[in-house]
């Protein structure tokens, strides 16, 4: 290798690395914040990947046929909610094993999006190019050096993605609904005592989470790129699950974890351009989120404490 270490550092740690991090994180933030809401209510939805796939697929197809990416975005959210209802019915009402139901949702998402893709667009593994959501250019940011390069000219979905953790912080810790949500995950019986039905709270939380996962998927196909291709979510749903664990099921923490994983991904892309492929194990960066998550779960990095009642179906006292 004839490139010096300092040169590598200089050409890798640029402002465009920051731009790429934000660009990558948007879909993961939507999905992981959504999953955080779900887990707070005491339900673990491992099907995020499948919901994101269906969201990405729906957004691209609807945009293709209507020409309007906003209708595409909305439809993706609705499809997410619909899958959320199915999952909630299985996990909460039928009380089937949440992990297996999540697996089913994952397989369903992979299969259905791939199947319908071929039905609608016979050839190749992707849709035609579609309209994308607008890119936001803020005039006021132009004069602020670093901020301008990182946050300007990003997708319009960046704004809600950056606001989500703050909004969720307020909802979870400052509103009565947030208290009920936390109670549903910690001690659903206490919730029942004050006359609130944990089942309804859990349903709402699962559907909200699935809605956000659908939006996170839509971002991939109608904003970050301009088409849907088979399996394009490529593990981001599981990264989102990891971010929830890494972020301790708290809005700020989950957001920071999503940013960290996105940064690693951006760094990996950036390093690839300067270091010849045979010297650079990019795979190390790609497995990092999973390894970190497993280390946390194993209790090596820090004690992660999720909601106490997670994955336990709620049983009414009197039958």
């Amino acid at each position: 290798m004839d490139i010096s270490f300092m040169e590598i550092l200089k050409s890798v740690f640029t402002l465009s690395l920051g731009y790429a991090t934000v660009r990558i994180c948007i879909s993961i933030v939507f999905a992981s914040i959504g999953e955080m809401i779900t887990e707070r209510s005491g339900v673990l939805n491992m099907g995020v990947e499948g919901i994101m796939l269906m969201g990405a697929f729906t957004a691209a197809v609807v945009t293709h046929f209507t020409g309007n990416p906003w209708i595409g975005l909305l439809s993706a959210g609705l499809v997410g909610m619909l899958i959320g209802v199915i999952f909630a019915f299985m996990a909460i009402t039928v009380k089937s094993d949440q992990a297996i139901s999540g697996l089913a949702i994952y397989l369903l998402g992979v299969g259905l999006s791939g199947f319908l893709l071929q039905i609608f667009f016979k050839h190749g593994g992707n849709t035609p190019r579609v309209e994308t959501l607008p890119i936001m250019h803020f005039k006021v940011l132009e004069n602020i050096p670093i901020i301008n390069e990182i946050f300007n000219d990003q997708s319009i979905l960046m704004v809600p993605a950056l606001l989500l953790p703050i909004i969720l912080y307020i909802i979870i810790y400052k509103t009565p609904w947030g208290t009920w949500l936390r109670a549903a995950g910690e001690n659903p019986k206490s919730l029942a005592v004050v006359g609130k039905d944990p089942i309804i709270i859990r349903y709402v939380a699962v559907i909200m989470g699935a809605f956000l996962a659908g939006i996170g998927g839509a971002y991939l196909s109608i904003s970050q790129t301009s088409l849907f291709s088979e399996k394009m979510v490529n593990g981001r749903g599981f990264i989102a699950l990891s971010a929830v664990i890494f972020g301790n099921v708290k809005p700020g923490g989950v957001f920071a974890a999503a940013m960290f994983f996105s940064f690693m991904d951006a760094l990996q892309y950036s390093l690839q351009t300067v270091i010849p492929d045979q010297y650079f194990p990019r795979e190390v960066f790609m497995v990092l989120p999973y390894i970190i998550t497993l280390l946390i779960l194993a209790g090596f990095l820090k004690q992660s404490k999720g909601p106490a009642d997670i994955t336990n179906p709620y049983e009414k006292e009197s039958r």
């Binding site: 299985m90 369903l108 299969g111 492929d277 994955t311």
Partner: protein, 358 residues
């Protein structure tokens, strides 16, 4: 009526599973109809593609082999309440390891082929010890950990193929293995190879282990009721660890057999999701090794039949994953279905019985 009642009570599990599969196919039929395709015609092509002639049939059976071994892998775990969703990753590692052993050594066939298969199995088994340890000593849900461990396995194999082993040509793969590490082909021109014998052997051994040995009895006891098993002096942790290890070994073996019988090298991304399919196969096979033979043939047929179907009726091959999803979804709801069925047939006595148990 009385006979029907008895039948439902006795065979309720089989009945609900068959219902789930039929329902999945009905959903598919409706999907096909709504997109203007004829499901009956599609089914005809599917049957012809899977069983139509000797060649198609042989190809179907060649698909059954990895599915069946991997399904038994899932069953061995599930019997001890260990849900190994990491079969896909263990299968990849098994295939890679066996491909390297098959290529790097030059030994007589009687030693080389078994060694190739054994090292592949061992690789899968050792990798499965990670989630086993996490589950038993750190209380980490194994479904979560095994799903996550599939990704490192995939990226590891990808890295080895691209950067460590020499590349021959443009396809990312390890070099071909020596002749002594290959299964003989049974029907020339098809993919059917002698690995089918290994699959049958695995089914029989798994059945004997689970049903006829003390070890198997103890593993099943752990799966049924951990506390009771512990009370009776069964070392619960050890049995779970063993179940996980054996499950991983069989997953690795499934990959090794597919490598030594079909591809003769580790082909990057060779697995069309055998690991995930095997879960469905095992569930539809009612977690019984012999039951898995039937469901593996069903899903193996789906995999080959779909190819003909895709050509003639433009029905995409992704249908298989979709069917998998629907079947897993329905089977995970089987509990409530069976409860309803029992209530219908048994009437009130089942309710009172339940209360007694509780």
């Amino acid at each position: 009526m009385e006979k029907l009642r008895k039948f439902i009570i006795k065979r309720g599990e089989i009945l609900t599973t068959v219902l789930a599969v039929i329902f999945a196919f009905m959903v598919i039929a409706v999907l096909l109809l709504s997109t203007g395709r004829n499901p009956v015609e599609a089914f005809g092509y599917f049957i012809r593609g899977a069983f139509g002639d000797m060649f198609n049939f042989a190809n179907t059976i060649s698909r059954v082999v990895p599915l069946l071994i991997a399904a038994v892998a899932f069953i061995i775990g599930a019997k001890a309440s260990v849900f190994n969703i990491g079969i896909e990753g263990q299968l990849l590692l098994g295939a890679l390891t066996s491909a390297v052993v098959g290529w790097a050594f030059d030994l007589p066939k009687a030693i080389h082929l078994p060694l190739t298969l054994l090292t592949g199995a061992l690789a899968g088994g050792l990798y499965a010890l990670i989630p086993a340890w996490l589950k038993i000593y750190r209380k980490v849900n194994e479904i979560l950990s095994t799903i996550m461990l599939n990704y490192p396995a995939f990226f590891f194999c990808h890295y080895i193929v691209l950067n460590v082993t020499p590349l021959e040509g443009v396809i990312p793969a390890t070099p071909f293995v020596k002749e002594s590490a290959k299964f003989i082909n049974l029907v020339p021109g098809t993919r059917l190879h002698a690995g089918v014998i290994v699959a049958i052997f695995v089914v029989i051994v798994a059945y004997i282990l689970l049903q006829k040995t003390t070890l198997g009895y103890e593993m099943r006891a752990v799966g049924l009721n951990q506390e009771a098993a512990r009370f009776h002096g069964i070392p619960v942790e050890k049995r779970m660890m063993l179940a996980f290890f054996l499950s991983g070994c069989l997953a690795g073996l499934a990959g090794a057999v597919e490598m030594a019988g079909v591809h003769y090298r580790y082909l990057d991304q060779f697995s069309p999701g055998y690991g995930y399919d095997s879960i469905t196969v095992a569930m539809v096979g009612l977690l019984n090794p012999f039951g898995a033979i039937f469901s593996a043939i069903l899903f193996g047929a789906l995999k080959t039949g779909i190819l003909d179907m895709a050509v003639y009726t433009e029905i995409p091959r992704q249908l298989v994953t979709l069917i998998n999803g629907i079947v897993v979804l329905l089977i995970s709801m089987k509990g409530i279905l069976q409860e309803k069925l029992n209530q219908l047939t048994k009437g009130k006595e089942s309710v009172s019985q339940k209360e007694e148990v509780a």
